[in-house]
Symmetry: D2
Subunit: 277 residues, 4 copies
Amino acid sequence: MKTYILLIDCTDEAGIVYKVTGVLYERKCNIISNDEFVDKSTNHFFMRTEFFGDIDQNEISAEIKKSLGSANISLVEKKKKNIVILVSKEHHCAGDLILRHHYAELDAHIEAVISNHQILSGLAEKFGIPFHFISHEGIERAAHEEKILAAIGEYNPDYLILAKYMRVLSGNFTERFPNRIINIHHSFLPAFIGASPYKQAHARGVKIIGATAHFVTESLDEGPIIAQDIIHVNHRLEVDDMVRAGRDVEKKTLATALNLALDERIFVINNRTVIFS
Amino acid sequence: MKTYILLIDCTDEAGIVYKVTGVLYERKCNIISNDEFVDKSTNHFFMRTEFFGDIDQNEISAEIKKSLGSANISLVEKKKKNIVILVSKEHHCAGDLILRHHYAELDAHIEAVISNHQILSGLAEKFGIPFHFISHEGIERAAHEEKILAAIGEYNPDYLILAKYMRVLSGNFTERFPNRIINIHHSFLPAFIGASPYKQAHARGVKIIGATAHFVTESLDEGPIIAQDIIHVNHRLEVDDMVRAGRDVEKKTLATALNLALDERIFVINNRTVIFS
Amino acid sequence: MKTYILLIDCTDEAGIVYKVTGVLYERKCNIISNDEFVDKSTNHFFMRTEFFGDIDQNEISAEIKKSLGSANISLVEKKKKNIVILVSKEHHCAGDLILRHHYAELDAHIEAVISNHQILSGLAEKFGIPFHFISHEGIERAAHEEKILAAIGEYNPDYLILAKYMRVLSGNFTERFPNRIINIHHSFLPAFIGASPYKQAHARGVKIIGATAHFVTESLDEGPIIAQDIIHVNHRLEVDDMVRAGRDVEKKTLATALNLALDERIFVINNRTVIFS
Amino acid sequence: MKTYILLIDCTDEAGIVYKVTGVLYERKCNIISNDEFVDKSTNHFFMRTEFFGDIDQNEISAEIKKSLGSANISLVEKKKKNIVILVSKEHHCAGDLILRHHYAELDAHIEAVISNHQILSGLAEKFGIPFHFISHEGIERAAHEEKILAAIGEYNPDYLILAKYMRVLSGNFTERFPNRIINIHHSFLPAFIGASPYKQAHARGVKIIGATAHFVTESLDEGPIIAQDIIHVNHRLEVDDMVRAGRDVEKKTLATALNLALDERIFVINNRTVIFS
């Protein structure tokens, strides 16, 4: 008996839950949890079902597909996923993920850390994680991305995690991993899009700063938002203090988003996410 | 076509969702939202379904009962509920509810305000709500409660709201309204049970104060918790400042809990609540 | 013996605190609280001192000015301030302020409510507050603003509170009340500047919505921020739900900002605020 | 020119700020920041001044003492402090501090990690921090504490940090480090004092869990509170889930408290803290 996660989304109509749970019931599957949601503005139905049983995945998927007509169906065994982390110079998000991984708090295996700088190689190595230094200097973006793709190609990651990777990825790169690249942006998007968000925040005199974890699309800082969180600040914080204070909320928000993805809890519709948490 | 809310809880077993949604599907009901939860420590299943259709409530309830065996089933039409508010001297919670009611933000009709003091009579009257002054002076608690029960008896409230009603209700009183009396307690329960929680909080030097909305049982401050919230405080706040600061979190927490109850989103099991929010 | 609030800001240099407290000490004033701050990026010094004593305000101000050279000095008696509220159709912020005022929780006297709609006249009247209906229909903005200024002229407000007043004020209007008009904006500025912020927030799929209280300048939504707060949201909230959920954070944030202003706790420098809270 | 932190607390009276800043002004010291507070319930005055200058610490302290009469005065150079960490089996708090230390985010030097278990030796060693394993098995508490004191004696820590050290310290131990031992307690004190707070929290059905960082005194869980924070939970969290969710708030709260201590921002009065943050 194994545990599975079934994700279905389709145009809403009567009877979907009944039909899907019927297929599972007939095969003696036992539902552990079940979440449904209908997005009214698009009349779209979303369902996430976790169940265990002794099944043939293809047979069940086909049977559900037949009973529902045109639906997006994903049926996967619940198990540890593989991730590759991309970083630049800052350690806090990568360090947090590596410690969670080391102490088995993360439902994922970190296969490698890839960076355009060497500074974090020691951190990865201390915890026995392969580190790939791929400098961006002296080469074009396309060539740099090809090298990164080659390094990623050694692994088979379910997700790429941009844990403060500070270079913009091309559409050519991002389209290979649709809804499979998660970035942490150091602002409460859509405020302070672009460079130096804490500098912008300080200049505007905001009383709250935040962080946003989102799937990466070709449009920088515009992908579907997965998680956001904030902290309160005041006039005493200079730009550098905001950067420091922001680290804690950045690493927490990225970890939250990653856990949601690892547990197959995120749907994307029209650049928005539906998250069963 | 009307909208209904179906609440089911029972020992967990395979097929419950399938069977229940089957009964609704056969009667051409359209599910608007569906939430399920299985409490692992008790192996108990909870389900809340909102649907619309043209149905016979008794027939559907009987059919579901038949298919499930022993389950708690509640099937009610979704509509405005009636509430009676009990207060003592403080205005902030009652005032907040009355304003929300006046501007149709509350899915409830406030039938009356009952108080052991006269001070809030003007507030109720400004908004056309009957006010009953029932003094507790010179009479025993049992006699006082009888008078209050008589006043409540003029109405048919779905819920009693203790919006800073500062007298302890007897078991004889509370058992008449199981899970239908909501109290706001001015602390983050179970911290500072009993009298003068803000004074206790100040003496202990806490950095956070809170409020708790809970169903009222015979055991004071021990009933199932519905909602809690907090605010951060510091050494600058004297006891009076904490009382003042606490008002905002008290009124917000009570309103949150009431809205959950009005929308039939709360189950109670073993003094804990399961809330589909 | 009366209580006073002294506000000083000037270019930083050694000895300011010593010199100012010396002037007060010689006149046997007793300091209740004292806050200082130096903004490093501008090398500007800010000081707020609350003290009581039997003094000649002009004499003390002159003496401090003499000892400091060029500084901005404000010395006022601590007392209830007067405010005028401007509203359009929405009740929640005005209703909250009126209730706080009615129960003496606000350190201000609400002299009048002015609106371009009639809908909230009943609310003001219930609590004995003069209501001025000044329609904007059929007249130009300048003419409308003249009428509002005339109405305000009957009173002598320390602050104008835009409690969901939904018309843009001209520079001609705002420059008459520098740092004396407080607006509540229904978004976490600078995100979602402009119209329909909740609609924008829903379309962007944010997981947090917020509110911003700020001083009003000629540039819409660009004035110095006083207070901000947020609530977490999820995919279940349609635009209307966000509007509803936002009300609580809007009214709380506006009340917070107003209290800071009433207690003379806000300095403005370069479109940012320094707040001693 | 060096930077110093001056802490003064004494019975309140007129002229304290004037006298103290006068001493500094005469010696050409430049005040960077200055915070004062008078606790009304005890009529006690607190002042923290950060300044730079070329001074004789003893001379200034003596001069201030002379001008004020009986006051507690501490004048220290602002510099990195030394800390020793005590742990048992859980890694999250120690790991977080070690990473912050490794990347120079902490204004302290971690001299050693001491534990009654061996499990975290690898973590300390990876980052070059001495690890002392001192088992409590087979010996009395007094003997165990003597061994720990001996290990601590090799260093000269300013603070001891109990980063999930799960054994109760005797009064004999704690009185050697008054207001110099910081513990992280895994509940929102004073709720759930004692063992298994998350189990207690789950049984009570709370909707919020928290963490408390406090100075350690002889009375378990009763010392002065430095920092508290919370997270919202719901019925879906079993005890184990609460433990997991609690880790993030525990490590954040401990780091916050430690930073306040390292920066000399905490006074203690009557089991409460006055914190200039």
